[in-house]
Amino acid sequence: MKVQGFLSTRTGGVVTIQPGQTIREAAGLMFQHNIGAVVVLDDQGRIVGILSERDIVRKAVTHDRVFDMAVRDVMTADVVTAVPQDDLMSVAHTMTERRFRHLPIVDEQNNLIGIISIGDVLKAQRDQYRGEIDTLEAQIMAAGT
């Protein structure tokens, strides 16, 4: 299965924020949409970072006033992205190996078209295995009738 198969069933846009906004605003968005990360876009719509709950917590340890800080000072700027043609299995591996919980998905022009979380990847894998087991089970059941 490819990342594309996952995108097919996601139409809700990706929640984004600008680097100059505050962490308070970012946290508000995360709470409102019940998500663990927002993608940071500059005013040309280019991806310049990703901000996760974990980035905020990490910063909070040394900065009491983290909520007043700008997104650009807390986000991870070195963003790894995926494309629709990537194999989901490899993406899963990269995410667990490098400890990313979210990966923005971009098209050929590098435009943001989606975001995939480690939970999404695990669910897709689980559905695939379950599907294979169900197929076998149905055959066994049918053979018994």
Binding site: V3, T9, G13, T81, D87, M89, S90, E97, G131, A138
Partner: protein, 467 residues
């Protein structure tokens, strides 16, 4: 509308498409203990089961036995089947919205992905979808012609469908005669002059989309030798690393089998099947009559994407492969249904988790849902459609709770039945299908075959005395 789903006002659901996704959606609806539900399932063909009947290879009869599960569902008193009723031809979305609280589209992927290379329009280049539908007796494809006088054939793509196509091309008439392959296809394939089949993968053995039992089965055919090329199946460092890191035994086993075919020597079998890796067709060449005579292949190498998956990148090495017949097996593709929002990029109904989405407002379209290949694209085995359909139906049930389904003026089951009788007087019921099924099996028994299929609607109508 809070009493929808009670015995007095059963929830009325239309399911469009009688493939696995449609049946799994119905199953999950019927499983709801507190819910009184009645389901009408439609299919544009007289026969149910979608790709289980018309896609799954005839030499894979055991897999087709999953239909026994669907058969049991169809016996529910609140289930009706309307075969030979097509959304867009006989019924419109507006008709459905007038009669049901909810509609679930499970129409699968009805076409294929194009291969945009020069020469793609030459005679003798076909989509695998057509060949598959033809040998399985799909009424819309029974008249297709494939030039089986050609000795050399290429199949582009290395998914399980490519395996099916290559196997059917290599099977002996005796092997095929034990299956439910369409009679005309059996006849044509028995005369086949095909000697060499090439399956062309653009990436390496570790990225092959086919599954292990399928690659193993290739080596077990009666009269075809299977080969791979040592240099192409030796893993490159990137694949080696990825495979080792994944520690995925299944994939390792698959690679081992592929590599083992590189040691095969000709044993004098009639046909030769060669699996090629790291090659992509870039052009098809024709003869003076516009028939395919050869293809140009570029050799690829693998490069790692930023997310860690390996993709093919062309090198400057090319070769010419002489072939007179080409099947592209690079994926199926959904087609839009009239009046239903469509996502052109992925060839699926525009949806969010299964709720159909309005392209302008980006909000769900009340009462409309999708499941199966038309929801998530053309991948996954039969059972994969179960969690997919369950996910969709759960959203439908959530919307029912929230009072957010349709409020149709004519929910009575008789109302839509009358309309169908006007629009498509020749519709098929499930009982009709069961009669056809019995007849097909009886015709098969006489020949020692699992069944002999009816392959045209006229034949089916005549067999039921409807014509």
């Amino acid at each position: 509308m809070s009493d929808i789903g009670t015995a007095d006002h059963p929830l009325r659901v239309a399911i469009i498409g009688a493939g696995p996704a449609g049946f799994y959606a119905a199953e999950h609806l019927f499983k709801q203990k507190q819910l009184s539900v009645s389901v009408d399932m439609y299919d544009r063909l007289p026969t149910p089961f979608g790709l289980v009947r018309l896609g799954v290879a005839p030499d894979h009869q055991k897999i087709k036995s999953v239909t026994a599960v669907f058969d049991r569902l169809a016996q529910k008193p609140n289930f009706r089947f309307f075969g030979y009723v097509e959304l867009g031809r006989d019924l419109s979305v507006a008709d459905l919205r007038n009669h049901y609280h909810a509609i679930i589209y499970t129409t699968g992927a009805q076409t294929d992905r194009a291969m945009n290379i020069p020469g793609a329009d030459l005679i003798g280049h076909h989509p695998a979808t057509e060949f598959v539908a033809w040998y399985n007796g799909h009424p819309d494809f029974r008249d297709c012609q494939f030039d089986l006088t050609q000795e050399r054939v290429a199949v582009v793509g290395i998914g399980n469908v490519a395996m099916d196509v290559a196997r059917i091309l290599c099977r002996t008439p005796e092997e095929l005669r034990k299956t439910d392959i369409a009679d005309y296809a059996l006849e044509a394939l028995s005369q086949s002059k095909v000697k060499e089949v090439y399956i062309l993968g653009r990436r390496g053995p570790a990225q092959a989309a086919f599954t292990t039992p399928e690659i193993k089965e290739l080596g077990e055919m009666e009269d075809a030798d299977v080969f791979t090329i040592p240099e192409e199946v030796a893993l490159d460092p990137l694949s080696e690393e990825a495979l080792a890191e994944s520690a995925d035994r299944g994939s390792m086993r698959k690679v081992e089998i592929i590599q083992s075919y590189a040691n095969n020597r000709p044993t004098g079998k009639k046909r030769k099947l060669t699996l090629r890796f790291l090659v992509s067709p870039v052009e098809l060449y024709g003869d003076e009559n516009g028939h395919v005579r050869a293809m140009k292949l570029v050799h690829n190498r693998l490069v790692k994407s930023s997310a860690g998956s390996l993709r093919a990148e062309p090198t400057d090495k090319t070769e010419i492969l002489q072939v007179g017949l080409v099947f592209r097996s690079i994926g199926y593709m959904g087609v839009p249904l009239p009046g239903v929002p469509f996502n052109q990029s992925w060839g699926v109904i525009l949806n969010d988790g299964g709720r159909v989405i309005d392209p302008d407002s980006k909000k769900p379209v009340t009462g409309e849902y999708a499941a199966g290949w038309i929801k998530r694209g053309p991948s996954g085995v039969i059972g994969t459609n179960k969690p997919c359909a369950v996910g969709t139906v759960d959203l439908l049930l959530e919307d029912l709770q929230a009072g957010a389904l349709l409020n149709p003026p004519h929910p009575q089951p008789e109302a839509i039945a009358e309309l169908i009788a006007q629009r498509q007087p020749h519709f098929f019921t499930y009982a009709d299908w069961q009669k056809l099924d019995e007849m097909e099996i009886a015709r098969g028994e006489a020949q020692g075959r699992p069944r002999v299929k009816f392959t045209s609607v006229a034949e089916m109508l005549a067999a039921l005395g409807k014509a």
